[in-house]
């Protein structure tokens, strides 16, 4: 599949149509717009809501191991199940779910290339029925924190170049012109980006139909900004979901070894007292160079 380093983590819509009712396969929809599922979804697919089921709703964090196990068990997913995730906005939050599944060691998890958009555009079968799978007993592995970056790692990358920082937000967010994506609430005190970061918007990794660009195109995209797999990479955005999409691209489609997702992202850095911030046109020009 497009010469990707790990093509086994992607399935196309035809594969899902053929396997959606396979007892060894579970299909889960994860959308930015959590109302999309109810309108119609792939028959047999379940929904996970990113804002209630894929995060700790008390403190700011990803799911705990225990909560992840509960979610998987309630979804009828066993450790050996092939988990296929898809969603709207080119698999934006589907990648967030994929990232957490990998953190907790689920072996066979895949994204449906093109996501919900491609399924709709192709006239794929839709259902409004919510499945009720038989619960399993799911035991997750200890969290693999080599996939996740925290503030100290982002600070070290910025101060000492210990890793390449990739800001995957829009150019307007990167420069500080806007504090959140257009139309969404502002969630930080300051605009701009982490000093030293390169701006490679996440959506540039996708084609118009929502599928991922070829490995060659992706290598060119990231390579033009000095992200070529020769040193560690930390991806970040606003809350860590867009950057999980870029993390997926860098780690699985391009096969870079050391890629982490800094899910604290700009809502952490941009609210820190005393944190250095780069902003403005000069920074933007550098980010695009």
């Amino acid at each position: 599949m497009e010469n990707y380093a790990h093509p086994e983590v992607l399935v196309d819509t035809a594969w899902v149509a053929a396997h959606a009712k396979d007892p060894n396969v579970r299909v889960v929809e994860v959308d930015v717009d959590t109302k999309a599922y109810a309108e119609g979804h792939i028959p047999g697919a379940q929904a996970w809501a990113w804002n209630t089921q894929l995060c700790d709703t008390v403190r700011r964090d990803i799911l705990s191991q225990e909560k992840f196990e509960e979610l998987m068990a309630a979804s009828g997913i066993a450790p050996e199940t092939t988990l296929v995730i898809y969603g709207d906005s080119n698999n934006w939050f589907a990648a967030w779910a994929f990232w957490q599944a990998k953190i907790y060691g689920h072996k066979d998890v895949r994204l449906m290339n093109g996501g919900r958009k491609k399924w709709l555009a192709e006239g794929g079968e839709l259902s409004t029925e919510t499945p009720h799978p038989m619960p399993t007993h799911y035991r997750a592995q200890e969290a693999d924190l080599s996939l996740r970056a925290f503030l100290p790692q982002a600070q070290a990358a910025s101060a000492h170049g210990a890793a390449g920082l990739v800001d995957v937000r829009s150019p307007q967010e990167f420069t500080g012109e806007i504090l959140a994506p257009p139309g969404l609430p502002e969630t930080c005190q300051r605009g701009g980006h982490i000093p030293g970061a390169r701006n490679i918007p996440w959506g540039k990794a996708c084609n118009e139909d929502g599928t991922f660009k070829s490995a060659g195109e992706l290598l060119d995209l990231y390579g033009a900004e000095g992200i070529d797999g020769t040193r560690p990479v930390i991806a970040y955005c606003r809350i860590g979901e867009r950057s999980s999409h870029s993390w997926f691209v860098l780690k699985y489609l391009l096969g870079f070894d050391n890629v982490t997702n800094y899910d604290g992202s700009w809502t952490e850095w941009g609210n820190l007292v005393g944190a250095p911030v780069e902003r403005g046109a000069v920074a933007a020009a550098r980010g695009r160079s």
Binding site: K35, G40, G124, E125, Q172, G176, E177
Partner: protein, 73 residues
Amino acid sequence: MKAEQYQERKIEIAGWPVNVASYRLDEVWHSKADNVSPGAALSRASGATREEAEQKAIARAGDLLSRTRRHPV
């Protein structure tokens, strides 16, 4: 049930590029408006015709986008 006559187009609302998708599910038309960059859903609406569904989604998106502040850089 299948999505029929799926269509997308890009327009500008309140100075921001917006992607408007629309399609028919059974007898109901659905529309969704996203901000193009990054691609987040702004609004969703339905109606008896494509035009009605799109107009509702566009109106709601316009309301949200008009509140977006641009800061000097």
